[in-house]
């Protein structure tokens, strides 16, 4: 296949992601794989290339949250096609960073967490969503299993806020505290609370969460 045609397919794929056009993106991804394009290139230039444009345009307020979500949705759908190909060939891809996000036990609010997760995906992070009402032990398990750079704990209710402190304690007891940066989030989270429980970063709104995550990855020395 000529490099010109390869480039065209990837450009079209990137555009489909930007448009949040799931069907088109899926079709083009399958086509790219069938035509023998390097799956890593498909991800980097097709999917991530597209989503990065969306992320940039979101920051300049040209595109809105629904655009971001739909683009991320398109990317997810395509990754499902590409990942098995990568696994079967034994090659690997390095994301910018790995993040585990979850809403603490007793709390089932997840909107902020979803937004943060989606946005981080568009910036090149691999995001693993632990879900809602997640018990302390499960967070520890997930840190052990996935070895993320950042663990994000979300709590909206003031009554579930203490759980964030408990997770940090549990990480200490498991000897994992220094292996991961912990970020706490929620509308009622404050700097004082974050300092009190020994979190590495905090955010009480979506924009602040993104800034905090970016800083944490920049400063990471752990990995």
């Amino acid at each position: 296949m000529s490099s010109g045609i390869k480039k065209e397919i990837l450009e079209k794929l990137a555009q489909a992601v930007i448009d949040g056009n799931l069907e088109e993106a899926e079709k083009l991804t399958s086509e790219a794989i069938e035509e023998g394009l390097d799956p890593i290139e498909v991800i980097e230039n097709g999917l991530v290339g597209g989503i990065r444009v969306v992320g940039d345009k979101f920051e300049t307020m040209e595109l809105f949250l629904p655009d971001l979500m739909m683009a991320a949705e398109a990317m997810e759908v395509c990754l499902k096609i590409v990942k098995p190909v990568i696994l079967s060939r034994g090659i690997s891809r390095k994301p910018l960073g790995k993040v585990v996000l979850g809403t603490v036990a007793g709390d089932i609010h997840d909107l902020g967490k979803k937004l943060v997760g989606t946005y981080l995906t568009t910036r090149g992070f691999e995001v693993i969503d632990a879900g809602v009402d997640v018990p302390v032990e499960r967070f520890v398990e997930m840190v052990q299993r996935f070895k993320p750079d950042i663990l994000g704990l979300s709590a909206l209710l003031t009554s579930t806020l203490p759980q964030q402190g408990k997770v940090i304690e549990a990480l200490k007891n498991a000897g994992l505290r220094d292996k991961v940066k912990v970020m706490v989030g929620g509308a009622t989270v404050t700097k004082r609370w974050a300092d009190e429980i020994g979190a590495d970063a905090y955010a009480d709104n979506f924009a602040a969460a993104i800034e905090a995550a970016k800083k944490l990855v920049k400063n990471k020395e752990v990995k």
Partner: protein, 471 residues
Amino acid sequence: MFKLLTSDQIQAIDYASSQMLEQVGVIVDNDNALKLLADAGANVDFSKRKARIPSYLIKEGVKKVPKKVRLYGIKSKFDLVYEEGKTYAHTTGGCSQILDLERGTIREASKGDLEKAVKIIDALDNIHINRPCVYPKDFPPEARDIHTMACMLENAEKHCNINTYGSTNLNYIIRLASAVVGSDEDLRKKPIIDGLMGPTKPLQYSNEDVNILSGYAKYGLPISISPDPMTGATTTITLAGALAHQNASVLAGILMVQLINPRNPVLYTSRVLTMDMRSGDILAGAIEVGIMSVGIVQLAKYYGIPSDVYGLGTSSKTLGEQTAFEKALNGLLPALAGANCISGAGSLESALTFSLEQLVIDNEILSMIFRSIQGINVEDDTLALEVIAKAGPEGFFLKSPHTREHLKKEHFIPKLASRAILEKMGAKNIIEAAKIEVKKILSEHQVTPLDKDIKHKFEKILKEADKKLIK
């Protein structure tokens, strides 16, 4: 009365809600409630925790709701009746932060702030109900709702709305209120508190949501059912869909209340907010909030249920112009539509932050809103033909007895929004005047303190609660 929906449109929304309840269904993660719904005739899947509710059941539930709701003040002069034609106001609820009066910066709220807020609420004529406006950080997190309620009941004379973290905590709050009036039975007869609850998502009632609802119903307290979705996030971006969605939510909640305690008073208390699609921030001051509140009021009237809506909401963090125009517009619309209660007084930043000065300014805005509801009185005496004839073509009315007689009946005399008053107070603008007024109320207003033995009971109850709940 101001309307945005025609009766055909209301029926279309009602129909859409019934389709949702019958086909999409409601998650009710509570065995007892699922059983009640199943026994009543709903199609219940216990393993999926889902109830599909036929419209005839919903209609039966709505029929049982009392059309009038009496809310009692701690002092009887502050008793209220929610009925057609009555509009009241209350403060916003649940802020974790407060605008510091001296420094003008935002900080976490303390017990002292709550006490001050309650005192000011008591002194303001246009705030009729206390809502727990701040949850002080110096109260223990596991029992914060209980301590907050104790502080409110100790310092208030008006009716108090309660909110709670869960059914265990609720029991202690009930005991506090019962101690004030005498007993559980006295509380049932004369509820000095009413209960607020909101499902986690419009069609998702969690186990605790239902426990709280049942807890209120057990004591016969009026219950405010308050789903609070955000358009484009937890409900549709389109307003009609959001209205139908929240309506389905409220109707399901009403049915559950009526199955638990038939004829338990209920208030239609939805809050549909919008989200800034550029940042994810909640926008309580968006005009769509006021527009949807009108829709909510009209729907509540359609079912014959009293309504409580937003209101004096703003997305701004500061006192000032944006705050003023957002609150004025969003407060006026639902009031003109006939809402029974307008919420939001004292709020800033979509109810994340509370402000004592803003509360005083909101009191002023509410005066204007209440005056506008009163409308224009047209009768012989106000057409005043004789007065005009007497004044003749030269027309000087200042010295006419008719003017003095009707002045206060026809015109709202602003407390603060008057250049003369501001000058007298030494205030440059209304914000400064509000600050001065806050300090004046705090130093001059008297509230009758709670009886010593009731205070003792409070101490005992709080001690027990702390022991049981704090880990």
